[in-house]
């Protein structure tokens, strides 16, 4: 019953979107639907579909290690949606996540007054905006990430910019993500103009382009490779990849931003990662965020 209700509401929201959709996001919309179709097919039954999707995985691993019959929204928790053993640990850690106090610290940062009497609250009167970034600024004709918007707010108020990877930036974003999740908001990326569409297309091309000395694309690991194991990693899917940031990574032992994660990942392809506030990074994130459109914001979260 509940699932039917959910389906119905998803359908209506689709309908709503397509009614509202201008031609600019027609392609993006189609890309997203195709992506969902692919992932649902891939994780319908990994053991049965070994020859189709998991040629290189050991049979016993496919038999026991994977969750089956996954649907679109299941991918919101990334690789934990299919990796059983990892999922248990994830849930054990989520019983008392290590970042909880950061949400409150983030709220303090939100209301803390700058020297000029303003605060971050002045720039972001509504803290439930985690799903609206990155957005295409039609006046400036460029993609603005949340991290960039926060630093621009600080600078506009004569405050020092924050490190974009961790520390205060991640702490404050934890509060925004939490507020957005509490308000049960979803990823809501828009493609309003021709320029925005072009930015989306460039981000998409970046995602699928093989790069670095290992000649890997983002897609190699996170579309075709999603769910495959590399050493001890079951690679995560593009769907839902940006909905849970900032994350506390066990590897970092602290909270970090999406940008921190991204540059680590691109570095692993064997090339110099683009700068965190570069056009390339912003457009790449724009594409990725659009692919998660309609999925609930569930940050901050824990990852390995």
């Amino acid at each position: 019953m509940l699932t039917r209700l959910l389906k119905a509401s998803v359908l209506t929201s689709f309908a709503f979107f397509s009614l509202n959709a201008t031609q600019f996001d027609a392609q993006a919309q189609k890309d997203k639907e195709e992506l969902v179709k692919y992932f649902e097919a891939k994780f319908q039954d990994p053991y049965k579909d070994k020859n189709r999707f998991f040629l290189y995985s050991p049979e016993e691993e496919l038999k026991d290690g994977y969750e089956k019959g996954l649907k679109h929204m299941d991918f919101g928790i990334g690789s934990y949606s299919y990796a059983k053993d990892a999922r248990e640990q994830y849930e054990a850690i989520k019983e008392f996540p290590p970042y909880e106090d950061k949400i409150e610290d983030g709220e303090d940062l939100y209301t803390k007054e700058f020297a000029n009497g303003n605060s971050l609250k002045t720039c972001f009167p509504d803290p439930t905006i985690g799903g609206d970034y990155p957005y295409f600024d039609t006046k400036r004709k460029e993609v603005i990430s949340l991290t960039t918007a926060i630093n621009e707010c600080l600078e506009a108020n004569n405050e020092k910019k924050w490190n974009v990877k961790k520390g205060k930036m991640a702490t404050f974003q934890a509060f925004l993500a939490y507020s957005t999740a509490e308000a049960q908001k979803k990823m809501n990326i828009k493609i309003p103009t021709k320029e925005a569409q072009e930015a989306y297309e460039r981000g998409k091309e970046y995602y699928y382009t093989q790069r670095g000395y290992l000649k890997l694309s983002c897609a190699t690991c996170h579309i075709q490779g999603a769910g495959q194991r590399v050493r001890n990693e079951k690679l995560s899917p593009l769907l839902g990849q940006v909905t849970h940031f900032p994350v506390h990574r066990l590897k970092w032992g602290s909270l970090g931003t999406l940008e921190r994660r991204m540059s680590g990942c691109i570095k692993d392809q064997g090339q110099v990662p683009p700068k965190n506030d570069s056009k390339q990074m912003h457009e790449l994130l724009y594409f990725m965020a659009y692919m998660s459109n309609g999925m609930p914001i569930d940050g901050p979260d824990v990852r390995k």
Binding site: E95, F96, P98, E100, D101, G253
Partner: protein, 100 residues
């Protein structure tokens, strides 16, 4: 300042407590590598209504910011759980939370 966050819930007479304590838990090996002094929580105790309800002597091998989950009976909603821990250097922390 209290360094332990506590969640305590009562259901059907059983109180479930989850705690997270801020502590680096530096083992001998880690401390040497980080050129810091060894320090970790050595004893951790919970009380409710004047009775010890959970008690553990701990080592250097609990994770950073150690987590504890435990259950006990004999307390109701509104009662308080008090957590007390000491570390190797003798620092002591006491935190209290009402059972919900």
């Amino acid at each position: 300042m209290a360094k332990t966050r506590i969640k305590a819930k009562e259901k059907n007479g059983v109180v479930t407590v989850k705690t997270l304590s801020k502590h680096p838990m530096l083992s001998y090996v880690e401390a040497k590598r980080a050129k810091k002094e060894v320090n970790f929580i050595t004893h951790f105790m919970a009380e409710a209504n004047g009775k010890v309800v959970y008690e553990v002597s701990t080592s250097q091998f609990l994770s950073k910011d150690p987590y504890m989950k435990f259950k006990f009976t004999g307390a109701k909603k509104g009662d308080k759980v008090t957590i007390t821990w000491v570390d190797l250097k003798g620092n002591k922390d006491v935190s209290t939370k009402k059972i919900r």
